[in-house]
Symmetry: C2
């Protein structure tokens, strides 16, 4: 029996490679295999302790009610205070954020989709630095928009192309530039000069500039990210810049609270009001309980940054273990040390299609019953052929498990090469 | 300084009259006035007690993580069991719902917007019974769709028009019929014959039929609603019917859990899979904690329906008080007794524009410092001029407060008529 037709915008929507690998990994786990699930940015670290306490004390009052569509005033205030404080503590200049500039969303995902719904007409284009978080393309497709890649390369340390090169990608349909720094998957923290370059291009071409800054607190080295909120252009450009600026944030990674589903959009009126209207007409409002819990987390780190400091230490130790293990067990790969977020991209120069290797590793291979779920990186690229020999790992296991995973990957790589040879021979017969 | 342009779809989005009245009411409350907020369907009854218990025991484990985009398997299973059980207990025939037919959303709002994003192209039309819940128009506008009204009338007890009358409203752009039963705002429970009439029209014209059944458990009289899940057409039509069927539900009203933001879409593959893909690409996933809490609520009423029975008793008592108070204090109005949901529509035949009265009542009038926030009903209608002399009240205060509210409204009505006279005289001078 035939089903009725669907809307055009959903024709191309498909589960991302991250979700596909998750499906296989979960099945194998149920079958009793040990799988190190390094394929999804799901922090394994317990959440900030004030969150469950606040949620319970609020929940037991028994009144679980609709919030204002912009979000709970207390959370919007606290988040604005957190942002201003974040920059003030570092002694860097920044735009001052007020609660009126903040709208609460269901994670950064809804923050992005609702931003696109507010600013993108069908056929409009958004420029995005490649490699990028794969769901961006789907988030944009919901609004009928099309993602266009600004390529960066592992071999060059993922630096941004020159201004004129980026400007050549702008068409009459380009409406926005999307910048993710620290970047998932590359781990790159774009420099002040690079961020300012994009901001200037946005202003000169009357584009929105959307900053996905969800990894703000996840710094793996010495360099702090330069936020779009810190950009300082010539005075005659600043009003235009403020009107073009949209910053996305989330409590998911900073506090290990992915399941709270609390994100933020920061922008100036009337942009923030339009995005608020989209929130009102998509989810009506966000869970009041989760907002109170998350507000208490931001409140806490205003005076006590221990949780975030600890998080940084934990992820750095894991990264150190990974870098060492790569040197020990995977000498042939290209893997620039990431500066932020909690992923690492590994390029296998002698593999044609890493997808086969990743599936072989997960489904056919095991070392004492153990294996590793990874994310083949082709979906992080738009440019055809790019990312075919790269995988992304998330730093979501303790150092010894991360080292063990790299070892398993190296043994699987040897086995995979033998397997490929045998297959070729078989096909020659 | 001019801002950049917005997407066309958001041009017409504006706060609903419900939200506007809420804004004024909150301001007056802060100024120390007592306001009976009967303008929003925010239940004042404490939530089901198992919810906070479950949320806390889950939260204190400290792992607040991403759910599968379709929702937690446990909640999808429990909700499917609840639905089947709901009909089995009543001894009525129904389609059997499996967990694969269920996707979890951020309330019924996201369930509806994501359904529209999955099935509606820009310019497509959805037929909807008028009066209707005003955000429907905005939910549909997000997908570029246009709402068209099937009018029903208070004076006729809100019965559905004849089959051919409804069929005349179908155009080549019509994609779906949206049915809300029990209906917000009219309180009408559409009969088996009416629901089947719409189902048959949908099948014959290859339309989706979307049932918003969030008030399933809120029954104010003796008659139970007839769900789209119960529709039984001729065998040769049933496959087509199953492919066209989409049912929306929510935990918000049944368990007094509006702030949990948990809703559901129920449909057959491939429709449910497409809607799941939209969830994955709009909010990524729904709060795991809120899903566990809500699952425990459905689990509870499978074996112990006390909470829902109590809810029905409470709302019936309130409605009785309102009906009596209307008879005592507002003899001139038309107010059919609602059969379900928890609203009442009141028509003032001698008022030209109830909006002025509602604002007068809220802002200029008080009785011992007390006043009432209501919702003028024009926004519940698409047909020009309709609803101008109607207001909607929500049964969200105890019986004595409901009675008091009607009394305040009747006193305000007298004062308003004097105020109108004085204004007219002033303008004649």
């Amino acid at each position: 029996m035939e089903s009725l037709k669907f809307a055009k915008r959903v024709e191309c929507l498909a589960p991302t490679s991250i979700r596909k690998m998750m499906g296989i990994a979960r099945r194998l786990l149920q079958e009793g295999k040990t799988v190190y699930e390094l394929n999804i940015g799901q922090p394994d670290i317990p959440c900030i302790s004030v969150f469950p306490e606040t949620v319970f004390s609020k929940a037991k009052e028994g009144h679980i009610v609709y919030s204002p569509y912009q979000g709970e005033t207390y959370l919007r205030e606290t988040f604005a205070r957190y942002l201003n404080n974040h920059f003030d503590q570092r002694g860097v200049g920044h735009l001052v954020i007020e609660k009126e500039n903040v709208v609460v969303t269901v994670g950064a995902s809804q923050a992005l989709t609702n931003t696109f719904l507010a600013i993108i007409d069908p056929g409009d284009e958004v420029l995005c630095i490649e490699p990028f978080f794969p769901p961006y393309a789907g988030f944009l497709a919901i609004a009928g928009g099309v993602l266009k890649a600004i390529p960066t390369h592992a071999e060059e340390g993922f630096v941004l192309p020159a201004e004129d090169e980026i400007e050549r990608m702008i068409t009459p349909r380009t409406r926005a530039i999307l910048l993710n720094s620290p970047c998932n998957p590359s781990g790159r923290i774009f420099t002040k000069e690079e961020v300012t370059r994009l901001a200037r291009i946005a202003v000169n071409h009357e584009l929105y500039i959307v900053g996905d800054e969800v990894y703000r607190e996840m710094i793996l080295g010495d360099r702090e990210p330069f936020s779009l909120i810190q950009v300082d252009l010539e005075p005659e450009l600043m009003e235009k810049y403020k009107n073009s600026l949209i910053v996305i944030d989330s409590a998911s990674k900073s506090f290990s609270l992915c399941g709270a589903r609390i994100g933020f959009v920061v922008a100036k009126a009337p942009v923030i009001e339009k995005i608020g209207m989209v929130v009102a007409h998509t989810v009506a409002s966000v869970s009041d309980l989760m907002q109170y819990g998350v507000a208490s987390a931001y409140e806490r780190i205003l005076t006590d940054s221990e949780f975030v400091q600890n998080l940084r230490r934990i992820y750095r130790e894991r990264l150190d273990a990974v870098m060492e293990a790569i040197e020990d067990f995977l000498p042939g790969v290209v893997a620039p040390r990431p500066e932020g977020a909690f992923y690492i991209m590994i390029q296998f120069p002698d593999l044609e299609d890493v997808n086969d290797y990743a599936l072989f590793l997960l489904e056919r291979f095991n070392l004492g019953g153990e294996t590793v779920a990874t994310t083949p990186a082709a979906s992080f690229y738009l440019t055809p052929g790019r990312g075919r020999n790269e995988i992304r790992l998330a730093l979501v296991a303790p150092p010894d498990k991360m080292r063990r995973s790299i070892y398993i990957m190296s043994e699987a790589l040897k086995a995979f090469k033998v397997y490929l040879c045998l297959q070729r021979k078989a096909s020659l017969r």
